[in-house]
C-alpha cells in the first residue's frame, strides 16, 4: 500500500514497467514529465520539492541538485540490487559514492539527418552550425541550453564553461550567425519533426533518433568528428520525498536487469546495469545509434559556475530574442 510520485522525462518509461512495479509492490504510481533538466530544477525550486519522490536528472544536474541540497541520501544496503551497477558507473564524479542516485540510462546527444534531403558527409557539427544549403531552414535544435552550448563549443573547439572572453564572444557570434538557418527549437518534438518531415536535420538524443528511424524516417544519426555530448540520466532520491520507502523500492526495482532492459528496449538508450543483454531486443543491440565508433570523443555537459552561467544565459536569450 502506498504511493509513489515520479518526476520523469517525457517518453522515457513504458507504462508496462510502471504497472509492473505497481502490481509487485501494491503501490499507486503517478508520474509527471518534463522536457529539460533545467525545467525540472526550476519547477522543484518553485515549490514542487516535497511532492515527488524521485526524479531523473542528467549527470551535471545531479551535481547541481546535490549542491542545492535537493537530494536525499541512502545507504547502499538499502538497495539489495546495488551491486548490479556496472563498475564504471558505480562511482561517478557528479555523485561521488553514489549516495543519492542510481544509473538509469546513458546515451549521446548529437543530430540526425534525413538522407533523402542531404547525402553528403554528416559526421561534422557543421551540419548544425554551418549547414549546407540543402538543410538551411530545415533544422530543429533542442530547446536545451546546456546541450546546445556544449555542442557549439565543440564545433568551435573551445572548452565548455570557458572563461575566455574572446571564446565566449565567438560562441555568441556563432549562434547569432546560424540562427536564421534553424527552423525551430524543441526537445520533445525532436523525433516528430524528423518523422513528419518538418525538419530535415535535427539535434536529437541517440535513442530518440533510433525510434524516429523505426517510425519510418529515413535518417542517419551522426557521430561528429568535433565531438558530441554524452550523458547519463540517473534516478535520484529527492529531499522531503513523501514516500521514501517506495522510492527506495522503485530504485531497487530499476536495478533489476529485466526491468531496466524493458526500459532500454523502449527508449533505445543504454543501461548501466550488468546482465541486461539477455533481455535486449536485436533491434536495440544492433542499432547504429547505440554503437558509436570507438574512436569518437564524447563529452559530458559541465555545470558552469555562476559568472559563466550568466554569460551563457545572456547568449541563450540573445539567441531567442
Amino acid at each position: 500500500e502506498g504511493k509513489l510520485s515520479v518526476y520523469h522525462w517525457f517518453e522515457y518509461i513504458p507504462q508496462e514497467v510502471l504497472d509492473k512495479f505497481a502490481a509487485e509492490h501494491g503501490v499507486e504510481v503517478t508520474m509527471d514529465t518534463y522536457d529539460s533538466n533545467e525545467a525540472m530544477l526550476a519547477s522543484l525550486k518553485a515549490g514542487k520539492l516535497g511532492s515527488y519522490d524521485v526524479a531523473v536528472p542528467g549527470d551535471y544536474m545531479v551535481e547541481i541538485m546535490a549542491g542545492e541540497g535537493m537530494l536525499d541520501t541512502f545507504e547502499h544496503t538499502e538497495l539489495s540490487n546495488f551491486g548490479n551497477i556496472q563498475p564504471q558507473w558505480a562511482d561517478v564524479s557528479f555523485d561521488p559514492g553514489r549516495k543519492s542516485s542510481i544509473p538509469y540510462q546513458w546515451g549521446s546527444t548529437g543530430f540526425s539527418v534525413n538522407r533523402d534531403a542531404y547525402s553528403g558527409d554528416i559526421n561534422t557539427t557543421s551540419i548544425i552550425f554551418d549547414p549546407p544549403a540543402e538543410l538551411k531552414g530545415k533544422i530543429n535544435v533542442l530547446d536545451s541550453q546546456g546541450e546546445v552550448l556544449a555542442l557549439a563549443s565543440m564545433h568551435l573547439g573551445i572548452p565548455q564553461c570557458t572563461t575566455d572572453r574572446e571564446q565566449l564572444k565567438a560562441l555568441n557570434a556563432l549562434l547569432q550567425g546560424v540562427k536564421g538557418d534553424w527552423a525551430s527549437f524543441g526537445s520533445d518534438i525532436a523525433k516528430d519533426v524528423l518523422v513528419s518531415g518538418d525538419a530535415s536535420a535535427g539535434m536529437i538524443y541517440n535513442g530518440f533518433s533510433a525510434k524516429a528511424r523505426s517510425e519510418g524516417a529515413n535518417i542517419e544519426y551522426a557521430f561528429p568528428k568535433e565531438g558530441f555530448v554524452v550523458w547519463m540520466d540517473n534516478v535520484v532520491l529527492l529531499k522531503d520525498a513523501p514516500n521514501r520507502d517506495n522510492a527506495i523500492k522503485f530504485m531497487n526495482f530499476l536495478l533489476e536487469p529485466e526491468n531496466i532492459a524493458a526500459i532500454t528496449n523502449y527508449a533505445q538508450y543504454t543501461a548501466g546495469i550488468e546482465g541486461v543483454d539477455q533481455f535486449l531486443t536485436d533491434e536495440v543491440k544492433t542499432a547504429p545509434e547505440l554503437n558509436p565508433p570507438s574512436d569518437q570523443p564524447g563529452q559530458f555537459v559541465m555545470a558552469c559556475d555562476q559568472a559563466v552561467q550568466e554569460v551563457y544565459d545572456t547568449i541563450w536569450t540573445n539567441l531567442k530574442k
Binding site: 510520485s5 515520479v6 518526476y7 517525457f10 517518453e11 513504458p14 507504462q15 508496462e16 503517478t30 508520474m31 509527471d32 514529465t33 522536457d35 518553485a46 515549490g47 514542487k48 516535497g50 511532492s51 515527488y52 520533445d188 518534438i189 523525433k191 516528430d192 519533426v193 518523422v195 513528419s196 518531415g197 517510425e215 519510418g216
Partner: protein, 268 residues
C-alpha cells in the same frame, strides 16, 4: 418587381463568414478524418479503422486519460458551481445594491482575472502557493480555476441581470415578500438563462485551461489538457485524434443541450 434594398446586407460579409467557418473547422475536420486512420503514424494514410478508438478505451494510456478526464470534469463542475455562485452574488452587489464603498474597485477586481495575462497568473500563483505552504494538489487547481472562472461567469450573469428591471423585485416586496424571498422567488428564476450560460462558460473555460493548471497542479495530478499536452507535445498520435474527436462530439452534444435549455428559457 424591383430588387429589395436591404440595409443589413453588405456584399462580402457572408463570404467572409463562410471563410471564417472554414478556417475554424478545417483543422477539426482533419483531426476527425485522421482519427480513423489505420496507421501508427499520422503522416501515412493506412486505410479506415476504428482501432484508435479502441486504443482510447483499452490502450496503454487509457487509464491515464480516464483519470485525467474524471479530474477535469470534477474540477470543472466544482469550479463552475462555486464561481457561478460568487459571480451571481457579485453581480447582485454591483448592479442591485446601490452605492457602497469600494464599488468601482470591486468592479475592477471581479474582472481582474481576465486582465492579468494568464502566464503571469500562473507563475504568481505557483510562487504564492509555495510561499504560503499551500501544497500543490487538487485544491490548488480548484482554487485557481475558481478565480479565473469568476469573470467568465460574471459576464453573462451581469448582462442578464442588467436587462431585468428591478421593478419585479419591488413588486414582490410590495406584495409582502422579504428581500431574500424577492431574490429567490423572482430574481433568480428570471436570471436562470444568464446563470446557466455563465455556468457553462465557466465550465468550458475550466475544462480548457492548460497554462495555469500546469503550473499549479500537484505531483501526478493530471487534467485532460495537461495529460494531452504531456502526450502530444512530442508529436500528434492517432489516439489523440480519436480522443479529440470524442471530445468534440461530447461538446456538440453538450452545446446542443444547453442551447435547447437556453431556447426554452428565452420563450418565457
Amino acid at each position: 418587381m424591383t430588387r429589395k434594398v436591404d440595409l443589413r446586407r453588405f456584399t462580402g460579409f457572408q463570404a467572409i463568414t463562410w471563410a471564417c467557418l472554414f478556417m475554424l473547422y478545417a483543422p477539426l475536420i482533419v483531426v476527425m478524418v485522421y482519427s480513423f486512420n489505420d496507421s501508427n503514424s499520422i503522416t501515412i494514410w493506412g486505410g479506415l479503422s476504428l482501432r484508435w478508438y479502441g486504443d482510447v478505451f483499452w490502450g496503454p494510456e487509457a487509464e491515464k486519460f480516464k483519470v485525467a478526464a474524471l479530474n477535469s470534469i470534477v474540477i470543472a463542475v466544482s469550479a463552475a458551481v462555486v464561481s457561478t455562485a460568487i459571480a451571481t452574488s457579485a453581480a447582485t452587489a454591483l448592479l442591485r445594491a446601490g452605492r457602497f464603498r469600494g464599488k468601482s474597485l470591486s468592479f475592477v477586481l471581479v474582472n481582474m482575472p481576465l486582465m492579468v495575462p494568464e502566464i503571469v497568473t500562473a507563475v504568481a500563483s505557483l510562487i504564492f502557493f509555495s510561499a504560503i505552504g499551500f501544497t500543490a494538489g487538487y485544491l490548488t487547481i480548484l482554487v485557481a480555476h475558481i478565480v479565473f472562472c469568476i469573470p467568465f461567469a460574471y459576464l453573462p450573469i451581469a448582462a442578464r441581470m442588467q436587462s431585468i428591471e428591478d421593478v419585479y423585485e419591488h413588486a414582490a416586496q410590495d406584495l409582502y415578500a422579504s428581500k431574500w424571498q424577492a431574490f429567490r422567488l423572482i430574481l433568480l428564476p428570471l436570471m436562470a438563462p444568464g446563470i446557466i450560460s455563465g455556468f457553462l462558460l465557466a465550465f468550458i473555460i475550466s475544462l480548457d485551461d492548460f497554462i495555469i493548471t500546469n503550473f499549479v497542479k500537484g505531483a501526478g495530478i493530471e487534467t485532460l489538457p495537461t495529460a494531452i499536452f504531456g502526450s502530444v507535445k512530442q508529436g500528434i498520435k492517432p489516439n489523440i485524434m480519436a480522443i479529440s474527436t470524442l471530445l468534440l462530439l461530447v461538446s456538440v452534444l453538450f452545446v446542443t443541450l444547453s442551447w435547447l435549455v437556453g431556447r426554452k428559457g428565452q420563450k418565457q
